[in-house]
Symmetry: C2
Subunit: 347 residues, 2 copies
């Protein structure tokens, strides 16, 4: 089969690799129907972080079960399944706490020695605890629903998780820092699922502004840094925001978050802090801030998100604004890295 | 009148100063019955932070109202009142959120231009929003109750706040890092008020260990650093603690807190981060931590703490293990700085 391979910064290829096989009785093999490129894939692509060369790429996919190990109970060949970006047993203490990204038997697709989502098939460890079958199967799912389901494998759930970490509830006013797919999905999650009344999205990119509005942003603010902080305060009688989603992970985005938080407010952060390794403690201390951070436990959110997608009440599919076959994946990386696309779907 | 004066690192005197006067219609003047020395007073005493020279000292006191301004409604001369370490109007948005230490009209006793608690009398701004009268007055309060009330001006409420920030509830298992008065009061607050079932106190000082046990610590752990983390994990089936109070504010104490937190756990921090100005973000991110920090809004807790003291169900008074007249305050600073006393009461 073919799969995307990382050959170094800026260098992604598609190569012939071995077909995946069941190697543990809890495995499944999934034939990929759709996969995509993640903002976090760009860290290595841009050379910001190290990644093994060569290594398989991608951690977002959905597909059809092709084979299952002898201990797999909840899945059978032919099932349409959605995979979270990490596998998990869904039974350990962390999983029972809803923190499947801390699973003691967990791991990330695309990590050394594992299959990546950007390929024709994937061996999925801990299949019962990882994959969620879509009721009705592939035949009953429209192309639009398939896109919406694909978004739930990472960005839709991660954005929602940011809003959950930010303690967004009914009627809340929320600031979202980051207009990538995760930030846009935080807008959608805050509005469509958590009942936020007002969402301030910080973005100066016309396409992202438009999608932010479509996802429910009530205020789109093009300023950055101190100017953005001033605008957020102007819009909240000088008090600042009780709820902030930090969906970037840079020093600049954290400064914005800290600067526009209301005293006693909550910052929910899902941006991987590659370039903001430390947080100043005095500003949070003086302003009574609640800092909630974490790698989104997508598996925790998948069942409810799948239900909402099938009901037609939740659709993060429009984050995919560029589509191409797996063979052209290198073009997709370039487009996302150059911010010509929000998110690329591979089919 | 006489008051304690900061004359530089390691140098505290008692000097004659002007009697306090009502200068705003919202002021009260309070004759001090008891005051005390705070761990945070030691930062300047030890030369770790700068403080104006000369300046008045102390922010913890209770006493009798001597005079009130024309707009003061809830207090009258003769009332026994407890003061939180900061004044507040108790009506602004932050105060209504229970964050009186973010009051727009607030300030700290002992700051430049204000009176300190370590003196014979204090001008209290925003008296209605700051002082809480003790029902029954001075005549009905025992010496023991007076000590317990004095503790509520800062350490008792700050320790409780740490446990509240750590989201301690009924049946919780809690780790308390810091065996100063605040840490010990966090033990008491977690057990006596919030219903924690198990409290691990990290202390190697026999007197503090004993008081920690008296306040309800179920496990007293003398190890520090990596050894303390290992012990905390051993005691929790390897999982770590869901609730941690960080009551020191150093890099070492934060490392302990991060190291012994259970994935998804909450760290409530009330130690002023003078020597730990930044927090590494990756460990909290990987372990889904909730970091809650802040300057305790003592005024928020005072009414309930005073009620509990008068009912006899809550007594942090034993934190005072050394007592002396105001005249000897310099000896008190030395004793606390050298850790020969947990907390010094001045009378």
């Amino acid at each position: 089969m073919r799969a995307a391979i990382y050959r170094g910064a800026g260098h992604v290829t598609v190569e012939e690799v071995s077909d995946p096989l069941i190697t543990a009785p809890t495995d499944a093999v999934v034939r990929v129907l759709r996969s995509c490129i993640c903002g976090s894939d760009l860290w290595a692509y841009r050379g910001v972080i190290q990644r093994a060369v060569p290594s398989r790429l991608g951690h977002e996919f959905l597909g059809t079960v092709e084979a299952v190990g002898s201990e797999v109970r909840t899945l059978k060949p032919g099932d349409l399944v959605v995979a979270p970006f990490q596998w998990s047993d869904n039974t350990c203490p962390a999983c029972r706490d809803g923190l499947q990204t801390s699973c003691v038997n967990g791991g990330t697709f695309g990590a050394p020695g594992t299959d990546g989502g950007q390929g024709e098939a994937v061996r999925v460890p801990q299949a019962d605890g990882t994959l969620v079958a879509v009721p009705g199967g592939a035949e009953s799912v429209s192309e639009a629903a398939l896109r919406a389901l694909l978004a739930t494998t990472d960005v839709a759930a991660t954005g929602l998780h940011g809003a959950v970490l930010a303690e967004v509830g009914e009627g809340a006013t929320v600031g979202v820092i980051g207009d990538g797919a995760v930030g846009l999905c935080a807008v959608l999650g805050a509005r469509a699922i958590l009942g936020a009344e007002r969402v301030l999205l910080f973005s100066r990119n016309p396409e992202r502004q438009a999608l932010g509005r479509r996802f429910g942003a009530t205020d789109v603010i093009p300023e950055r840094g101190e100017a953005a902080i001033a605008t957020a305060r102007d819009l909240t009688a000088g008090l600042g925001l009780r709820h902030i989603v930090e969906a970037v992970g840079t020093e600049a985005s954290w400064e914005m978050a800290l600067g526009m938080a209301r005293d006693g407010g909550t910052i929910g952060a899902v941006g991987v802090p590659h370039t903001a390794p430390t947080l100043p403690l005095f500003p949070p201390f003086v302003h009574h801030l609640r800092i909630h951070v974490g790698v989104a436990p997508v598996r925790h959110y998948l069942p409810q998100l799948i239900t909402r997608v099938l009901e037609g009440t939740y659709d993060a599919g429009p984050v995919f604004d560029l589509e191409m076959p797996l063979q052209d994946v290198a073009l997709g990386y370039a487009a996302m890295s150059e911010r010509r696309a929000i998110k690329v779907m591979l089919s």
